[in-house]
Every structure is written in structure tokens, then in C-alpha cells.
């Protein structure tokens, strides 16, 4: 039982939906359909590397070979996750934080179908428990994927969570970005990007950011700013690539 006011104390879940047997069955049936549909649509997209004319598969598998903290802006969640799920070997090394609510069940099942590890937790409702879960995942050899401006924004403003996780776990942050040639934007806080089928999507991987284990507040802030700058710079590089 969590003590009132303890480090682990969190806000209660907002969802009023219950985990009924019917809903569980529905989600189990829907997860493979969503997974197949997303992969089919994704396969029609042409992925290009921002710095070359190819999708550069080797750069991705090499960058993700060792545990790290891959980070991208929340608005780029759909194309970046699809890109990371593209190769099974890479997908199996990744971990995702998914809400423990009933709403998160479906998303968790889709990710698990791709071979990824799922940590159930909420950075806004039980932040420390979620971070400890991700720290444990790194110890097990997974790379936890983080959207540093998520889950509620402000848009393209990195919070320090990814930097502190990188510091305590002793693994680098890996900035990732993308830009689609054509997309639909969801009416959400971040105007989530959903690439259109048969379009081009440019991707870029940045320089790993190392956060010293004994980093003080100023060094953590410096790494946070560096992450923000890299993510914005990489996104611009991807946009420029699509104009060529």
C-alpha cells in the first residue's frame, strides 16, 4: 500500500472505462488488425535518410545496438515508432512506457506484437514508479523510448526526465527525428503526425548525448537544452531533405 504523500504517490486514473471481459476480448481481437493495417500502410511509404538517398538500415541498427534512451518529439510518435518497429531485431531491444489504464491496453498489445517490451506506468500520474520501471528495463538490456515533451506538452519543450534517466542508468540519449512529405494532423495538443500512404518520410539520427553520473543541476539543464536543440535541428534537416 502506497503511503499518503510518499515518493510513489500518484494521481488516480481518469478513465471510467472498466476492464470488462468483453472489452478485453475486443482489444485482443483488434490488436492484430491494427498491427497489420499499420504495417501495410507503412510499407507503402518511402523512407529516406536525411543525409543520403537511402533509408540507411545499418545506421539504425548500429545506433540501437547498445542500450540507450531513444528520444523524439511526441508529434512524431507514429512514424518514429513505425520506423523503430521496422526491423524485428531492433524492435525487440526497445521498451515503451504505456499508460496502465484500460485505454493503454490496446496500444500495449500492438507494441508487444512487434516484439517490444512494455512498461505500464504514467509519467504524469505515477512519475517515479514509471521512471523506476524504465530504469529497470535498461538494466535488463532494453532501450526505453521517450517523447521528452509528452505526454501533455508544451509542444517541442523537453522535460528533464529523459536526461535524468540517462544519468542514473549510465546510457546515452539518442535523438531521433522525422518529417513526412504529406500527412494528416490529429486535433491533439501536439497535432500528432500521421503520414499519408505512398508518401516519403525523411528520418535522421543525432549525436548521442552522454550525461555524466555525477552531473549537477547545471549539467542536466545543459543536456536537456542540447536534446531540444538536436531534436529541432534534426527535424529541420528532415524537412530540408524532402525539398531536394
Amino acid at each position: 500500500m502506497t503511503k499518503t504523500g510518499s515518493l510513489f504517490a500518484g494521481k488516480p486514473e481518469r478513465s471510467r472505462r472498466r476492464r470488462t471481459p468483453v472489452r478485453k476480448f475486443l482489444y485482443r481481437a483488434l490488436a492484430p488488425l491494427i498491427d497489420v493495417f499499420a504495417r501495410a500502410v507503412w510499407s507503402t511509404c518511402r523512407k529516406v535518410d536525411a543525409d543520403s538517398d537511402t533509408g540507411d538500415r545499418h545506421a539504425w541498427s548500429a545506433a540501437l545496438a547498445e542500450p540507450c534512451v531513444p528520444c523524439f518529439w511526441h508529434e512524431q510518435l507514429v512514424p518514429c515508432i513505425q520506423r523503430l518497429r521496422q526491423e524485428r531485431a531492433t524492435a525487440e531491444r526497445l521498451a515503451y512506457l504505456v499508460s496502465p489504464s484500460i485505454d493503454g491496453d490496446l496500444f500495449a498489445q500492438v507494441l508487444e506484437r512487434g516484439g517490444s517490451h512494455v512498461v505500464r506506468g504514467s509519467s504524469t500520474r505515477s512519475g517515479l514508479r514509471a521512471m523506476r520501471g524504465l530504469q529497470r528495463a535498461i538494466k535488463q538490456g532494453f532501450s526505453p523510448v521517450i517523447t521528452p515533451d509528452g505526454p501533455t506538452g508544451p509542444v517541442r519543450e523537453a522535460k528533464p526526465g529523459a536526461v535524468v534517466l540517462s544519468q542514473v542508468a549510465g546510457v546515452p540519449i539518442l535523438p531521433i527525428a522525422c518529417a513526412p512529405a504529406g500527412c494528416w494532423r490529429a486535433p491533439s495538443w501536439d497535432r500528432l503526425i500521421v503520414p499519408l500512404p505512398f508518401g516519403r518520410v525523411a528520418f535522421a539520427i543525432g549525436q548521442p548525448i552522454d550525461v555524466p553520473r555525477n552531473a549537477d543541476d547545471a549539467q542536466i539543464e545543459s543536456a536537456r537544452v542540447q536534446l531540444e536543440q538536436q531534436l529541432s535541428g534534426l527535424t529541420e534537416r528532415c524537412r530540408a531533405r524532402l525539398k531536394r
Binding site: T2, K3, G5, S6, L7, A130, Q135
Partner: protein, 80 residues
């Protein structure tokens, strides 16, 4: 007894370093979130530093019981 005092001292040093609250102002009754100002990122750093300093692994069930500076002091004392 000396070992217990040393552990308490080291814990208060870590808490001061991470929270920025002067050691002389830390009281056992202070709440770690409301009074000391720990957010989830600082709490993660604190737990990681305690684990490294005392070569232990803190279980989530133990961390769930920590709400005040006194709870933390009791925990590291129990390690002796």
C-alpha cells in the same frame, strides 16, 4: 552507532545535494515532496544515489513507504 551516524550523514548530504535544501534546515518531519521539493526526476536521482552509495537495491514496496525525511533516515538505519 558510528556506522549508523555515518549513514545518516551521508544520506543528508545526498538529500542536500539533490534538493538544494541546506542540511541544517532538514527536519525528520519534512515531507519529501511538499517541503523538500523533490519531483519524480530528483527522487529518481536520490534513490539511484542511495543505491550506489550503500550498494543496495531499493524495492518499490520500500520506496512506497517513504514520505518524510525521517522515513528515509529510518530506512538507511535499518540497513546497518
Amino acid at each position: 552507532m558510528d556506522q549508523v551516524e555515518a549513514r545518516r550523514g551521508k544520506l543528508l548530504d545526498l538529500l542536500t545535494e539533490i534538493s538544494g535544501v541546506e542540511r541544517t534546515k532538514l527536519e525528520p518531519t519534512m515531507n519529501l515532496i511538499a517541503d523538500v521539493g523533490l519531483d519524480s526526476a530528483k527522487a529518481l536521482r536520490l534513490l539511484a544515489e542511495i543505491e550506489e552509495e550503500f550498494s543496495i537495491e531499493i524495492e518499490d514496496e520500500d520506496a512506497e513507504r517513504m514520505s518524510t525525511v525521517g522515513d528515509l533516515l529510518d530506512y538507511v538505519e535499518s540497513l546497518a
